[in-house]
Subunit: 494 residues, 2 copies
C-alpha cells in the first residue's frame, strides 16, 4: 500500500471512530437509561483512549509528515494539517490521562443533569471543579505557546484569541449594555402569549416548521433532550433535539429552527468532503453563524411567520385567537429581562455570552476561583442584564457546556450571530430573502448559504469564509447596527 | 503492567467496542435516517475491522495463552477460552474480507427493508445470495474441522450441531405436524379480537405491562423498529423494540413480553460478569428460552391476564366489551394456520422454525441453491403448516435474520422454547407461578430465573445450565408433552 492509500485508510478509521462517538453521545443525551451511565461513561472513555492510540501512532504521523513534505492539492494539504493539529493536541496527553479526562467530563455531565433536576449546584460543583482542573492540566501539556484560554478559544474558533474576543466584546458592551438598560427601565409591555400549549400539538407544529425549512426525515431526525443540540453524523444523517415547555409555545420552535440551521450546514457540505476533517472541523463560530441565522434572521422575520403563523394560530386557536400576526411578531421579538441564555432575545443574547466569556477567561487566567464562580456569574448577570438570580437553575446550572468540558465554546455563539448579521446584508444584495420566506422557497436561501458557507466546510479559516462570502473583512459593526436598528425602534414606539 | 492487568485492559477495550457496535446497531434499526445508511454501513464495517485487528493482535493472543498455561479460577479460565475462541474465528479471516463481509450484511439488511416495503423479493435476493456466499466462504476459512452448518449452529448455541438438532426436530415433526394437521382440519372457531386498536392507546398498555413485568425505565428503554428485537448494552442498559399493528391488539404486547424476557436476562447477570464475555456470550438458546418463557409460559397464562385483562378491556372498551377473560384466553391461545413466524401460536411455532432449519441446512450442505430457496421455503410451509404463501412478505421476506447474515440462529428459538418448557416444570416444583402472576409478584419469578439461569451468564454450557436448573438432563419430551397437553384439549372441546 502506498502512503496515499494508507492516508485514505487512516481517514476512514478516524471517521468510523467519530461516527461511533457521535452515536454514543447522541444516544446518551436522548434515550439511554440512566442506570447504565457509569458503565457507558467508562467504556466511551476507553474507546476514546483507543482512538488516541490510533491517531497518535508513529505510522500515521510519519505518513502525514511525508505527504506534507511533498506537493499536495490545497484541499489535501488542509486535511493533513488539520489532522496533524488534532494529533499534536492528543499526543501531548498520555492515554491514561485522556481516558480519565473523558470519564471525568462524562460523569460531570451526568452530575449536572442531577443537579438541574434538584436545582442544587452543590451536586455539580465538585465535578465542575474537577473538570476545570483537568482541562487546565491538559491544556498546559499542549506546549503550543498559547495562554490556556487562548488555546481553548482556538479549539472552537480557529484563529481566535482573547485579544480578538476582547475587542469584539468591548464593542458589544459599549453599545448593547446601555441599550438593554434603557429598555429595561422603559419597561415596555408586550402582547402576552401566556397559556398552556400541549406538547403533542407542539410536536405537530415542529413537523410543519421542519418541513417548511426543508429539513427532511430521510436525512435528519428530531428527538428530545434536556438541552437542545445538533449532531452531524454524516451529510445525510443529522440529528437534532429540542425540549418542550408546555407554558411556552415558541421555546421549542426556536430551538428547532436553530438546530435545523446546524443540520443544514452538515447536510450541505460538499460530497467530496463528507466524513473528512474538512467536514468535522467546521468551527463553532461558523456553525453558530448558521444556527443563529436560521433562528433569528429567518425565524424572527415577519415573512417567515406570514407563512407559518396561520397554522400555529389554528393549532392553538383558544390560546392565540386574539393575537394578530403583528402582536405575535412583537411578542417573539420582545426584549426579555431574564437570566436564561437559551430563552434570551437577540439583543440581550450577546450579553449572556459576554458573562460566560468573562467567567471562563477569569477561570483560566486565574483571576476567578471555582469557589467564586457562582457569585461572579450572578454578579455579572446583575451588572449586564439587571437581573437578580434567585436559584441555580436560573444561574450557574442553566447550560450544559461546562459540565462537558466545553470551555471556549460560548463566545462562538455571539461571534456567530455577528457573522450572521454581516452575511444577511450580503445575502440581501443577491436574493430577496423575504420573498423566499413568504413563497415557501427555502431552497433559494439554502442555495446561497451552500455556495457561500456550507459547501466548503472547514477548507478555509472562519474569517476567510466570511470575507469570501461578504466580499469584505469581518466587521462587528453589522451586528451592532442590526441590533441597534431593530431594538432602538422599541424605544421610540411608545 | 503484568499480564493480569493487561488482560483486564484488553477486556475493557473489547467491551468498549461492543458497546459501540450495540449502540450503532440499535440506532440504525430504530431512528437513523435512511439516506445516511451507506455511510454508516461503510464506517461500521471499518470499525469492526479495527476491532478485528485489536482482538487478533499477537500481544493479546500471547497474553491469553500465557494465562491459560497457568492455574486460573474456573471463571477466569472460561473467559479466556471464550475469548480465544472468538479470536480464532476472526483470525481465520483477513481484515479486508471481514470488512467486506460486514458491509455486505449491512447493505443486505437495508435491501431487505426496501424489499419488504415493496413486497418484492427480487430487491433482496441478490444481496441474500451475496451474504450466503460470503458466509460460506468465511466459515470455510475457520478450519475448525466442522461442517459449515455445524460451525454456524455452534456460533449461536454452544455445543449444538446438526446431529443434535436433527434429533430434536425429528421429535417435533413426529408429534406436532400431525396435531397441527388435525386441528387445521377441525377448523375450530375462536372468539375474534378483530377491530381497530389505535397505537397511542396500545402504547399506554405497553407501559402498564412493562411495569407489571418490572421492566424499569431506569435500566431499560422501549422503542419501535420494523422487526422487534432486544439489545443488551450492559446490565443496567437494555434496549427493546416492538412494532405496532393497529388491527392486532396483542401483536405488540407479546413482542413486548418476549423482549422483556431477553432484557431481564441481561439485567440479572451477576455484577461480577457485567461487560465480560461471560455476559456477552449467553447463547441464543438460553436467551430465547427466557424470552419465549415470558412470552408463552407467563404471557399466555390466565393468571397473567387476570391481572392485566381488565386494564386492556377498559382501554379498548368498545372493541373488547363483549370479550370475557375466558374468550380472550381462547383467542390468544388459538392455533393460527398462517405463514408468519412472528405471529405464530405456540403449537405451530416450532414448525416455522423447522422450515427455516431445513432451508438453512440445505443451503449450507449444498442441497438447496439460492435460486431454489423461495420455492423450498414455500413448499415446506405448505407441507408442515398447510398454508399457501401468496406473496413474499408472508413468505421468504418475513424475517430479518438472513439479511444480517444470521444463519443458524433460528433453531435456537425452538430449542429455547423446549428449554423453557422443562424449566417451567422445575420452577413449579419450587414456586407457585400462578400465585406470583396473580399477585403482582414478578420478583418471585425473576428471582428463581436469576438464581437458576440469569446470574451466571455463559459461565456454563447451555445443556449444563439446563441440567443444573432442572436437576436432570435436557429432555425435549417436556416441550412435546406441554404442547400436546395444551392443544389436544382443543380437539376434545368441540
Amino acid at each position: 500500500m502506498n502512503e496515499i492509500q494508507m492516508w485514505e485508510n487512516y481517514q476512514q478509521v478516524i471517521a468510523a471512530y467519530n461516527l461511533a462517538f457521535a452515536t454514543l453521545s447522541y444516544d446518551d443525551e436522548t434515550i439511554a437509561p440512566r442506570d447504565g451511565s457509569s458503565y457507558r461513561n467508562e467504556k466511551i472513555a476507553v474507546l476514546k483512549g483507543e482512538y488516541l492510540s490510533f491517531i497518535t501512532s508513529d505510522e500515521i504521523i510519519a505518513c502525514i509528515q511525508s505527504l506534507l513534505s511533498k506537493p499536495q492539492s490545497m484541499v489535501e494539504q488542509r486535511k493533513l494539517q488539520l489532522t496533524l493539529k488534532e494529533i499534536n493536541q492528543l499526543k501531548a496527553v498520555s492515554k491514561e490521562e485522556y481516558i480519565t479526562y473523558v470519564e471525568c467530563c462524562r460523569n460531570s455531565s451526568e452530575a449536572w443533569k442531577k443537579a438541574k433536576e434538584n436545582n442544587d449546584y452543590s451536586i455539580f460543583k465538585p465535578h465542575l471543579k474537577e473538570v476545570i482542573e483537568q482541562t487546565k492540566h491538559l491544556v498546559s501539556l499542549r506546549n503550543d505557546g498559547l495562554l490556556p484560554y487562548d488555546s481553548l478559544l482556538a479549539d472552537y474558533e480557529e484563529g481566535s484569541s482573547m485579544e480578538f474576543y476582547d475587542k469584539f466584546f468591548e464593542k458589544i458592551k459599549t453599545h448593547i449594555v446601555p441599550l438593554v438598560k434603557k429598555l429595561r427601565e422603559k419597561n415596555i409591555q408586550y402582547p402576552s402569549l401566556e397559556g398552556v400549549y400541549p406538547i403533542e400539538q407542539q410536536k405537530m407544529i415542529m413537523e410543519k416548521i421542519a418541513s417548511y425549512l426543508q429539513f427532511n426525515p430521510s436525512w435528519g431526525y428530531l428527538s428530545q433532550s434536556v438541552h437542545p443540540f445538533s449532531s452531524g453524523f454524516s451529510k445525510n444523517d443529522t440529528r437534532i433535539t429540542v425540549r418542550y415547555d408546555e407554558s411556552d409555545v415558541t421555546s421549542a420552535i426556536f430551538a428547532l429552527i436553530h438546530e435545523i440551521g446546524h443540520a443544514t450546514v452538515e447536510h450541505q457540505i460538499g460530497d467530496e468532503y463528507e466524513g473528512s476533517i474538512i467536514h468535522r472541523s467546521i468551527t463553532s463560530g461558523i456553525h453558530e453563524s448558521q444556527s443563529r441565522f436560521y433562528e433569528n434572521y429567518l425565524g424572527k422575520n415577519k415573512s417567515f411567520w406570514k407563512n407559518n403563523y396561520p397554522y400555529l394560530q389554528n393549532m392553538f386557536s383558544n390560546q392565540l385567537n386574539d393575537i394578530s400576526l403583528d402582536d405575535f411578531m412583537k411578542a417573539i421579538n420582545q426584549v426579555k429581562h431574564q437570566s436564561i441564555r437559551l430563552e434570551a432575545d437577540e439583543l440581550t443574547y450577546p450579553l449572556h455570552i459576554l458573562i460566560r466569556y468573562e467567567c471562563e477567561k477569569g477561570l483560566f487566567n486565574g483571576t476567578i476561583s471555582i469557589d467564586e464562580l457562582e457569585d461572579t456569574f450572578n454578579r455579572l448577570i446583575k451588572e449586564y442584564l439587571g437581573i437578580e438570580v434567585t436559584n441555580p437553575n436560573e444561574g450557574i446550572l442553566q447550560d450544559i457546556h461546562w459540565s462537558e468540558g466545553e470551555f471556549g465554546y460560548f463566545p462562538a455563539y455571539a461571534l456567530g450571530s455577528s457573522y450572521g448579521a454581516q452575511l444577511l446584508v450580503s445575502m440581501k444584495k443577491e436574493i430577496v430573502v423575504e420573498q423566499a420566506l413568504e413563497n415557501n422557497q427555502m431552497e433559494v436561501i439554502h442555495e446561497w448559504l451552500k455556495n457561500h458557507i456550507h459547501h466548503d466546510g472547514a477548507l478555509y479559516l472562519p474569517l476567510e469564509i466570511i470575507e469570501k462570502a461578504c466580499k469584505e473583512p469581518f466587521n462587528v459593526s453589522y451586528y451592532i447596527d442590526y441590533l441597534i436598528d431593530k431594538y432602538s425602534s422599541s424605544l421610540l414606539s411608545e
